[in-house]
Amino acid sequence: MLNLMEDHPYPGKLFIVEGIDGSGKSTQLDLLYKWLISEGYSVFFTEWNSSDLVKKTTKKGKKKNLLTPTTFSILHAVDFADRLANVIIPPLQAGMIVLADRYVYTAYARDVARGVHSDWVRNLYSFAVKPNISFYFKIPIDVSINRILSGRASLKPYEAGMDVGLSDDPVTSFKMFQTRVLSQYDQQIEEFGLTVIDGDNPIDKQQEIMRNYVKNELKGYDQYHPRMIAAETKELLVEKDTKSIVHQI
């Protein structure tokens, strides 16, 4: 069950972005997406916490204030396991580029900041496919807070980590919680080989750096043009994948 620490066997490429709220990662991923499309690649996009089942359950739990940090953490893992099997691995098998806005490192940062055991949550997600590049957009905590607070009227309670009980004031709680999350991200840089991008740089400068990393990773990838390999190896890969999901976890 060490998939996350080993290179994946699929012909496609998986690029993911991470960072605290307001780090600019979604903007950068969107720019990368547009560039890859314009270059003629087949690209699939997915984001954290997006399945209907989990959205509904999470919403219900939040409303009833039933969600403990551990239940909250596992619920996200349900969503992730479902997305991994249904929307991340199949495009990778088909040789496509998959872009993910947030990945398991979000869980490792947020859930540990919420109080779950760091080894426990690492094991929980260890079935994940290791990305080809994991970009971590690192910004100082004050920049994040200013960006978030200037952009909206109020903070959502879970976003502010109100459930952790750091402070009764949403803004104070948000700052304290984000500081914890940031420190959990920083600890992962070496552990998981995250590629750090300075989120304080101008947007175009960050994008240029990001594209250079991606270009480098895509060297030699063109031979796996999705439209060519999809037809040839589909059956073989589907079989291989079913096994790898069940037995290799």
């Binding site: 739990g61 039933l66 403990t68 551990t70 893992a77 055991h117 426990w120 069940v246």
Partner: protein, 227 residues
């Protein structure tokens, strides 16, 4: 008397040192008579003056409906299923089991994490991974394993007027197209899993092929020793 502790990596934000209740688990496969026994034990303990709370498997208010929905759809892969059950368990553990134990109740659990280990293992999920996932579980004070052979299990089920259902027959893993045949194969695998866990988790084996009344007196005896 040992103090309560977590199975593996626990819940760092929960203090279990003040638990005064007892966690008693009744394990065993489908149709072995767990719920009948728990019903009798609950009444017996209450008459003795103990506060008792029953808890089942996949019955949390938060996730019960989601699991039912997925079981009907049957579209999820094995890991997603395993994680979903763990979410349900976490919800029940933290919102029901731990608070009850802290208030001094006896918690009678109809199945516990061992059921998950058995079911997921026969479906090819990594056994060490799933044990770590359930690391936050509270270690029970007593695990009674209602043990039965496959022949007795089949007879008991039909005698009680039940029919074989899709999940109890493990039809989702494709052992056989025939419901009865699949049931026999699947339950044999599950029974084997429970047998193999007996030493690992120090199960108290109780022969469940006997009459429910005599099974019950053995259970009462075991529980009395604990109290």
């Amino acid at each position: 008397m040992k103090s309560q502790s977590f199975f593996k990596h626990g819940l760092p934000y929960v203090d279990v040192s003040d638990i005064s209740g007892k966690l008693i688990v009744i394990e065993g496969t489908d149709g072995v008579g767990r719920s009948t026994q728990i019903e009798i034990l609950t009444e017996w303990l209450e008459v003795k003056g103990y506060g008792v709370i029953n808890t089942g498997w996949t019955r949390s208010p938060l996730l019960g409906p989601a699991i039912d929905q997925i079981k009907r759809g049957n579209t999820l892969n094995q890991i997603t299923f395993a994680v979903l059950y763990a979410a349900d368990f976490a919800d029940r553990l933290e919102n029901q089991i731990i608070p009850a134990l802290k208030s001094g109740f006896i918690v009678l659990a109809d199945r516990y994490m061992y059921t998950a280990f058995a079911r997921h293992n026969v479906r090819g999920v990594d056994p060490e991974w799933i044990r770590q996932v359930y690391g936050f579980a509270i270690e029970p004070d007593l695990v009674i394993y209602l043990k039965i052979g496959i022949e007795d299990l089949i007879l008991r089920m039909f005698e009680s007027g039940k029919s074989i259902n899709y999940w109890e027959a493990g039809m989702d893993i494709g052992l056989s197209d025939d419901l009865y045949e699949s049931f026999v194969k699947y339950q044999t695998l599950i029974l084997n899993e429970f047998d193999q866990m007996t030493d690992e988790f120090n199960f108290k084996i109780v022969d469940a092929s006997r009459w429910p009344k005599s099974v019950n007196s053995v259970l009462k005896h075991e529980i009395e020793k604990l109290l």
